[in-house]
């Protein structure tokens, strides 16, 4: 069984500059894969190589087992691509644009799907408007409608929510989840890490053109972040001593520990009088922390030190 999208040793050079450097990963069928990285990391260049907007310097891209260079028509017809920048379409209306795009993917009569997408993306009343007459959010939704007119098996979303308000962002992500449920495989890039954490089954982190880490979102968070345990205490307390302790104030202590440890093991060194514990708050690590740790691998070890550094 072929993977929906396989990227094999893909590199893209601009002269001596390596925009994408020997990147390999594959998408599993029906998953949402988040490609994360800071600005200029190579996310857009990578996606541009997949859709042949950029010619890759070396490597291979396969769609359901077929190379995009050997079978361009067959592979491109399975991909829906939403570019980062909004495209204008001059004289044409929203509905005309979707008809053209359906035809470009080989479907000449596609009114039912076009009507569905216009309704689903709240563009129905704007179907006779030109792109320049639409608001920023409407333009984004049109870009997504364009990419979906031919029911692609793979959807590539390059920062689809850049500059979009929270309400619309949420509705677009809901739609992406709906697409996933219907079997579409999604590759997306975004700078909203909280949303990526909630949405993506797996994450790839790219930095300076190379892929630093790929894994299940929950595994990355578990492996690369620390859980935080905060306890509110009553009365005057002794000075606690534990390798997991990161701060102690008069009436509270905070501990940080790896996800694979049980809480009992973490607190046993404290020699705590449990009758003084007023409240306990457990905070899980976030994708943002894991992401920052991957980007700053050298500094990562510092986060496990047990020095008391937090202000009370």
């Amino acid at each position: 069984m072929h993977k929906p999208l396989e990227i094999l040793n893909l590199s893209k050079n601009y002269g001596a500059f390596k925009a994408v450097d020997d990147v390999s990963f594959a998408l599993e069928e029906g998953e949402i894969f988040g490609l994360l990285g800071p600005n200029g990391a190579g996310k857009t260049t990578l996606i541009s190589c997949v859709v042949t907007l950029e010619n890759m310097t070396s490597g291979k891209v396969k769609v359901f087992g077929d190379s995009i260079l050997d079978k361009p028509k067959e592979t491109k017809s399975k991909i829906g691509y939403v570019p980062q920048e909004v495209v204008n379409h001059g004289y044409f209306t929203v509905e005309e644009i979707l008809k053209f795009y359906s035809g470009f993917f080989g479907i000449l009569r596609n009114q039912e799907k076009i009507d569905y997408l216009l309704n689903r993306l709240s563009l129905d009343v704007h179907r006779n408007k030109k792109v320049k007459q639409l608001s920023g959010g409407m333009k984004r939704r049109l870009m997504i409608a364009k990419a979906l007119v031919h029911d692609p098996k793979i959807l590539l979303l390059d920062e689809p929510t850049a500059g979009v308000d929270i309400e619309l962002r949420n509705s677009l992500w809901d739609f992406v989840v709906e697409l996933k449920k219907s079997g579409t495989t999604v590759l997306l890039t975004t700078h909203y890490l909280e949303e990526a954490e909630e949405l993506c089954d797996r994450i790839g982190v790219i930095h300076n053109g190379s892929l630093r880490k790929v894994g299940r979102t929950s595994d990355l968070i578990q492996d690369l972040t620390l859980r935080k345990l905060e306890m509110q205490l009553s009365g005057k307390n002794k000075e606690f001593n534990s390798k997991y302790l990161v701060s102690q104030c008069e009436e509270s202590i905070e501990l940080e520990f790896p996800s694979n440890l049980e809480i009992g093991e973490v607190v046993k060194d404290l020699d705590l009088d449990w009758s003084t514990v007023k409240d306990i708050h457990l905070k899980e690590g976030s994708l943002e922390e894991a992401f920052l740790r991957i980007l700053n691998e050298n500094n990562a070890n510092n986060s496990t030190n047990n020095s008391v550094e937090r202000d009370c």
Binding site: V51, S77, H89, F104, I107, R109
Partner: protein, 264 residues
């Protein structure tokens, strides 16, 4: 029933889009060239024409009409493909052509066929306007000696110029570069290509220079088809037409392979 054909339908849709694009602005793309042709006919054909002898035993008005038909056809075929690509580079929708299942050959032929249709529509307008002027001067319509030959030269010239338009537009990095090619290369070639004068009106030096102008052959091919007389034999005109087609096709294919479809 929804059917998907990724091999031929994308080509059909791009052709349809190219035609729809110029139909959206018919005043700019068809009416304006028609008015321009009328002005040339009034100024040169009707007003000055009586005092010009081109030495080909045909009235100057008939000589001018045949030249104007081809000039309109070439200019508009060129304008359609080039403006489609340039506006696509500006707005970003040229990228769409690269990410959909269209081959390079399909892109070339669909865009060029779109350009040809506009060239032929405007040529028909020029012919109609010309016939009206001819009828008003001579009381009869101008006879077309060889309709098949006319179709060959109009189609061949339009296709060659549509390809040239694609080639120049894909190469252009700015609007300025595009208009520089039009102003410094194409317009001089067209105006010096025998639309308004015959070789007989030129000194031997300029006669020799004119023979190096490919547009001169394309225009004389049409002139011979309509009037039965021209400055160069129709066979030479046909050879130049075919050569132009081959050369421009290779150029545009190479350019398309190397150019970026990315927006400016």
């Amino acid at each position: 029933m929804k059917t998907q054909n990724i091999y031929f339908n994308p080509f059909l849709m791009l052709l349809w889009k190219e035609i729809r694009r110029y139909c959206k602005v018919l005043v700019q793309t068809v009416v304006t060239p028609g008015i321009n042709s009328s002005l040339y006919l009034i100024i040169f054909g009707v007003s000055l024409g009586g005092s010009i002898d081109v030495g080909l035993e045909v009235p100057y008005l008939a000589f001018l009409i045949s030249g104007l038909i081809m000039m309109s056809c070439l200019n508009n075929s060129f304008a359609n493909t080039s403006s489609s690509i340039i506006s696509g580079k500006f707005s970003g929708d040229l990228e769409d052509l690269k990410v959909v299942p269209l081959s390079k050959q399909q892109i070339i032929w669909a865009m060029c066929l779109g350009g040809i249709t506009r060239g032929l529509v405007v040529a028909s307008v020029a012919l109609t306007v010309g016939q009206i002027f001819y009828y008003s001067q001579y009381g009869e319509f101008m006879e077309i000696k060889s309709p098949f030959s006319l179709a060959f030269f109009l189609l061949g010239g339009a296709l060659a110029y549509a390809k040239l338009g694609m080639f120049v537009a894909f190469l252009a990095k700015t609007f300025d570069q595009m208009s520089a090619v039009s102003a410094f290369v194409l317009q001089p070639l067209a105006f010096l290509g025998g639309v308004f004068f015959s070789l007989n009106n030129l000194s031997p030096f300029w006669q020799k220079i004119s023979l190096f102008n490919p547009v001169f052959y394309l225009i004389n091919g049409v002139r011979h088809s309509i009037l039965g007389v021209s400055d160069v034999p129709p066979l030479s005109a046909a050879v130049v037409t075919v050569l132009s087609l081959v050369i421009f096709h290779v150029l545009v294919l190479v350019t398309l392979s190397r150019s970026e479809f990315k927006r400016w």
